[in-house]
């Protein structure tokens, strides 16, 4: 509808972003890139909200507002995460998640 682009195109992009994010989350060896992957996942979700809002309920704005909220929360989350990562780095001199294994039995 947006200049003749069907909804599936947006959804395919969103799914790809989501799974790329998950993949990155699971396999990357660096906390910063893991944080980036989380951002990717969140953005995929935001895209979904916007697209569904626009295509299914064009006269409502809830989806867009929700998207804005997620962006806000994501910003907060990123700042928290970076603060944590900096602290981890100060203590351990690295940020490799495989080697951060204190929180176990």
């Amino acid at each position: 509808m947006i200049q003749g682009i069907p909804i599936t195109h947006f959804l395919v992009v969103s799914v790809i972003m989501f799974f790329v994010g998950i993949m990155g989350f699971i396999i990357r060896q660096n906390l910063i890139t893991i944080l980036l992957s989380v951002e990717l996942i969140l953005n995929a979700v935001v895209l979904n909200f916007l697209v569904f809002n626009r295509y299914l309920f064009p006269h409502h704005l809830q989806g867009q507002f929700f998207g804005l909220f997620i962006i806000g929360v994501a910003a907060a989350e990123a700042s928290m995460a970076i603060a944590l990562i900096i602290n981890i780095y100060r203590r351990m001199r690295h940020i490799d998640p495989d080697k951060i294994r204190e929180m176990k039995y």
């Binding site: 998950i22 989350f25 699971i26 396999i27 893991i34 998640p97 495989d98 951060i100 294994r101 204190e102 929180m103 176990k104 039995y105």
Partner: protein, 639 residues
């Protein structure tokens, strides 16, 4: 109309004295606690006498003696039907019991001032005596069965506390425990009996259930269990509680051991008042027993008859003077039970009821006197055993004379008190149940024999060489003895049938002269036999004992009833039942719980590796699980 509401103080004064001496008694000089207790009891003694005067001579002059509820208040409203009241009911037997309890209690308090002088825990002793007096008075004036039960337990507790007064002595502790457990076990029957009554009648108020024409027992009589009506079971179970308190066979085992307590306690609790609570209970519910469950009443009579003969036989062979008196008490309570058991209702027919109450009254006097006399002897000789006594008449003239009066009274020699009441029980038994008459007739002879055996062995027999020369007791002990001796000699002349009767109407009993002669002659026969055997030291009693052989040994060992109890409890209950139950608990119940614990522990050991600390592993497991769940749901819903 006279206002009887002041009678509440008869209950409150001992309670307050108990609280005061119990809390502060330890800080005062001991004698203050003693005097406080004695004066408290003296006050309520005067009040009880006044109440009796008002009740019998002012309010109901000439009868009929209708019960008066002096006060009654709702204590616990449990359900719509089940309300527990606390109150004071005055009727002939409760007024009589008020007088008996306060008289004996006053004498014991007074006597203890001398007897317990210098004992450790003097204040504690007086506090418990006041507690007991309060509970016993609450029992006799109870307006309903549950109030009676509550005070039943209270007298049980105070008896326990006083038997175990010398708590450093293991035997006293064991005796206190035994008394408490045995009576508690019997009280369990009492409680079940009360519950059955409540279940069927929704009422346990004495005024309602003792009305001969009451319709409330219809349902209870209609329901039967094992061939007897529910009401019969209820009354039989109530009798079980009464038998436990009154130490009837087979619950008699606690009473001889209870003699471990101080002697004035034995006189007050285990001779005159608490042990007759059972008789009082049956008398209180007498119309129920007589009109609705006559078979149970007959059982009461037979149990009483058996106990009286059985205990009298044992009393002949014992050497501990307090034990002889304890078995004698059992035997005399048996008499009272027989009196109730053979009684009918109304006027001359209700002679047994009146005689049982009369015997309760006179027995309280002379048996308390016997015990206090025994206490005086023990005080002088420092031993309970007859073998260490003899020739005491020279050293203790007052104790000697008063003891002789009590012995004559219990043997039924006129004109002492026991003669009148015992003779009336025998007359009632003669009229209604010949078997019980003969049992009691023989017991009367044995009674005279064993009490004079005791008397001669202690006061005559031989001139024992004492380490310390025995001396007469101080006046605090002898004055109560003299008062009680006067009472024992005279209360027989009280025209008791004018005051207490089964149907609350005064009547004039006939005198059966042939029975009077018969009962006096068997009493004299027992006395003469004891005189022949024990007046002077000789070896005839030992030779007779040898000749009787096994028979003597059985009697001396109390027919092995204690051993049978031990066999049942130790061998059967502890070894077989308790051990198997313990095995089940240890292996099956504990095993199951331990199994649960072991399985949990092993499992967690195995799976704790899941918590690896790898952030990305967690994420992978989480996402993989979500995907699997999502796919499964989609598959089953069939999207």
């Amino acid at each position: 109309m006279v206002d009887f509401s002041y009678t509440v103080f008869i209950l409150l004064i001992p309670l307050v004295v108990f609280a005061i001496t119990g809390i502060w008694g330890g800080r005062w000089k001991p004698i203050i606690s003693g005097l406080l207790g004695t004066f408290g009891i003296a006050t309520i003694f005067v009040m009880s006498l006044y109440t009796a005067y008002q009740y019998f001579f002012v309010v109901h002059h000439g009868g009929p003696y209708k019960p008066i509820v002096a006060m009654n208040f709702l204590w616990l409203p449990l359900t719509e039907h089940l309300h527990i009241h606390m109150g004071i009911m005055l009727d002939p037997i409760s007024v009589m019991m008020l007088v008996v309890v306060t008289t004996i209690s006053l004498m014991s308090h007074w006597y203890s001032l001398g007897y317990m002088k210098g004992e450790r825990g003097f204040a504690r002793y007086y506090a418990f005596l006041s507690l007991f007096t309060f509970s016993m008075l609450g029992l006799v004036v109870a307006t309903d069965l549950l109030q009676m039960f509550i005070f039943y337990e209270l007298v049980g507790v105070s008896s326990f506390l006083l038997i175990g007064f010398y708590y450093q002595k293991p035997s006293a502790v064991a005796a206190a425990k035994k008394a408490f457990i045995v009576t508690r076990f019997a009280d369990f029957g009492f409680l079940i009996g009360i519950f059955i009554l409540i279940y069927y009648t929704h009422s346990f108020d004495f005024l309602q259930i003792t009305d001969p024409n009451t319709p409330i027992f219809e349902t209870a009589l209609g329901k039967t269990f094992l061939g007897y009506s529910a009401l019969s079971w209820a009354t039989a179970l109530i009798f079980m509680g009464a038998a436990g308190k009154s130490a009837m066979f087979p619950f008699h085992i606690w009473l001889p051991d209870a003699m471990e307590g101080p002697t004035p306690v034995s006189a007050l609790i285990h001779a005159a008042t608490m042990v007759v609570a059972g008789v009082f209970t049956i008398a209180r519910l007498f119309p129920v027993y007589y009109f609705f469950t006559p078979k149970v009443l007959l059982m009461v009579g037979y149990v009483g008859g058996f106990t009286s003969l059985f205990a009298a036989l044992i009393a002949m062979t014992q050497f501990d003077i307090k034990r002889v008196l304890a078995y004698s008490t059992l035997s005399q309570i048996g008499y009272m039970m027989v009196g109730l058991g053979v009684s009918h209702y109304g006027g001359e027919e209700g002679l047994g009821y009146m005689a049982a109450m009369f015997h309760l009254f006179t027995h309280a006097m002379f048996k308390a006197l016997l015990f206090l006399g025994a206490g005086s002897i023990i005080h002088a000789v420092h031993s309970n055993l007859m073998q260490k006594m003899g020739g005491l008449r020279k050293y203790m003239p007052i104790t000697h004379i008063t003891f002789l009066i009590a012995a004559l009274a219990i043997s039924g020699i006129p004109p002492f008190a026991g003669f009148f009441s015992k003779d009336e029980i025998l007359a009632a038994a003669f009229l209604h149940n010949r078997l019980l008459f003969w049992v009691e007739y023989i017991t009367a002879g044995i009674t005279a024999f064993y009490i004079f055996r005791l008397y001669f062995k202690v006061f005559w027999w031989k001139d024992t060489q004492y380490e310390h020369t025995p001396h007469e007791s101080p006046w605090t002990m002898t004055v109560p003895l003299i008062i009680l001796a006067t009472l024992s000699a005279t209360v027989g002349f009280v025209p008791f049938s004018k005051f207490v009767s089964s149907d609350l109407m005064p009547f004039e009993p006939e005198t059966h002269w042939n029975l009077v002669i018969a009962s006096v002659s068997i009493g004299l026969l027992g006395l003469a036999l004891a005189w022949l055997l024990y007046r002077k030291e000789n070896d005839l009693p030992d030779r007779i004992a040898k000749a009787l052989g096994k028979l003597y040994k059985w009697t001396y060992d109390k027919f092995y009833i204690d051993e049978i109890y031990l066999f049942i409890t130790k061998k059967i209950m502890f070894n077989i039942i308790a051990k198997s139950v313990a095995w089940f608990d240890r292996h099956i119940v504990d095993g199951f719980m331990e199994g649960v614990a072991v399985v949990t522990e092993k499992t967690s050991e195995k799976i704790k590796g899941f918590q690896s600390g790898h952030l990305q592993q967690y994420a992978f497991v989480f996402i993989a699980s979500v995907i699997i769940i999502a796919l499964t749901v989609l598959y089953f819903i069939g999207a």
